[in-house]
Amino acid sequence: KEDFVGHQVLRISAAHEAHVQKVKELEDLEHLQLDFWRGPTQPGSPIDVRVPFLSLQAVKVFLEAHDISYETMIEDVQLLLDEEQEQMVAAQTRA
């Protein structure tokens, strides 16, 4: 099973077009293995990206260096997946 321990989902706020373009640059950096849940579109629209643990520092530094604000939408994806799995097992057991 794919392991998402330490992966975070960041919600990035692109205030203007230059920010959008910068995030698009991030999208092209394949080695970061970013998974855009909601891609960069236009200023004001939230951008959601799942960031593997090993890329977190690079991505956050990049965003902060370009004064692009973000918040952590999901602190640890695996924790949520484990919760989801537990809920499914519990529902099946009840059934």
């Binding site: 998402f4 919600r11 909601r38 994806v77 809920q87 059934a95």
Partner: protein, 310 residues
């Protein structure tokens, strides 16, 4: 598993097998209203099923609804299950809906990407694409919402097989897409086509691959406004609406651009509820409210389709 759809847990996420068993149970409970159609087999050999809701007369116009073409968007498949039950509950009870189903058939494809959905349960919860292989690449899968024959391969899709928006080697290369294309083409009387995604809270209409307004833009825009107003009336969930390209981004080869090009005027795609926190991992407690509010928007589109024959 419950032996009845009355005791099925709609507030939980379910596996492919459980959903397929639910479908069988629903058909068994309502043999005069619901039937199950096999429209093809996936790349990995799984059956692709569509539920047909019909009150009996053949050769009727129809409404198509699909959920789960992007496999990780679990709230959509779960909503599809809820819609299926809702249809059987409301027929004969809700006068507006009864009129719709007395005049038109409804086709509901609950798991539009079965291979991807099974993969999200077994190996990678974040999987979005199909599971087809690409010769010469180690990367697997095609984005089935970039594989349709409408602006195929243009800007707004990736030619890189490793990308989540890989368009595939040719239009309809994915059997999951081709099966729908063949079904819709053969049917010939589908009047509304609604493809359901999550999340972002959007209701979108063509086009996605070009900025030119659709010929029916004014009507689609008015109808979208009515649909999102109905949706918001239940829990206050606000949806934006508009053409794909103007509301989110350029996307080529998308589902509803193809259906619109086939003359299906009422072609829409939804992006369901976004709580601002969970994305594709929307807690199961959100399933029923999401489905309930979406149903109101669907009803608005279905009723408009009924009242504006073409």
């Amino acid at each position: 598993l419950p032996l009845s759809t009355d005791t099925f847990n709609y507030a939980a996420y379910h596996t492919l097998d459980e959903i397929y068993k639910f479908m069988d149970t629903l058909v068994a409970e309502h043999p005069d209203l619901v039937s199950k159609i096999n429209i093809g087999k996936t790349f990995e050999g799984r059956d692709i099923f569509v539920l047909k809701f019909s009150t009996g007369v053949t050769d009727r116009p129809a409404i198509w609804i699909d959920t789960g073409i992007h496999s990780r968007e679990w709230v959509t498949q779960a909503s599809g299950v809820w819609f299926a039950k809702k249809i059987t509950q409301d027929y004969g009870q809700d006068s507006t809906f009864t009129k719709i189903l007395d005049t038109m058939d409804i086709f509901l494809e609950i798991v539009t990407n079965p291979d991807g959905f099974a993969f999200t349960h077994s190996k990678n919860r974040m999987w979005r694409k199909t599971r087809s292989t690409t010769p010469g690449s180690l990367c697997v899968g095609v984005d089935p919402n970039r594989n349709w024959d409408a602006g195929f391969g243009m800007a707004g899709a990736s030619s890189n097989p490793c990308s989540d928006t890989y368009h595939g080697k040719s239009a309809n290369s994915e059997v999951e897409v081709k099966s729908i294309v063949d079904f819709v083409t053969k049917h010939g009387k589908i009047k509304a086509f609604i493809s359901i995604h999550s999340y972002s809270q959007l209701l979108l209409y063509p086009y996605g691959y070009k900025t030119e307004p659709a010929p029916d833009q004014a009507e689609l825009d008015e109808l979208s406004k009515a649909a999102v107003t109905a949706l918001a009336s239940l829990y206050g969930t606000k949806f934006k609406y508009g053409s794909i390209i103007k509301t989110i981004y350029q996307a080529s080869g998308s589902t509803i651009d193809w259906t619109y090009s086939q003359g299906i005027k009422y072609s829409f795609t939804f992006e369901l509820r976004d709580t601002g926190r969970y994305g594709f991992l929307l807690p199961a407690s959100q399933i029923i409210p999401t489905a309930q509010e979406t149903w109101l928007a669907l009803l608005t589109i279905m009723e408009h389709t009924l009242n504006h024959p073409y």
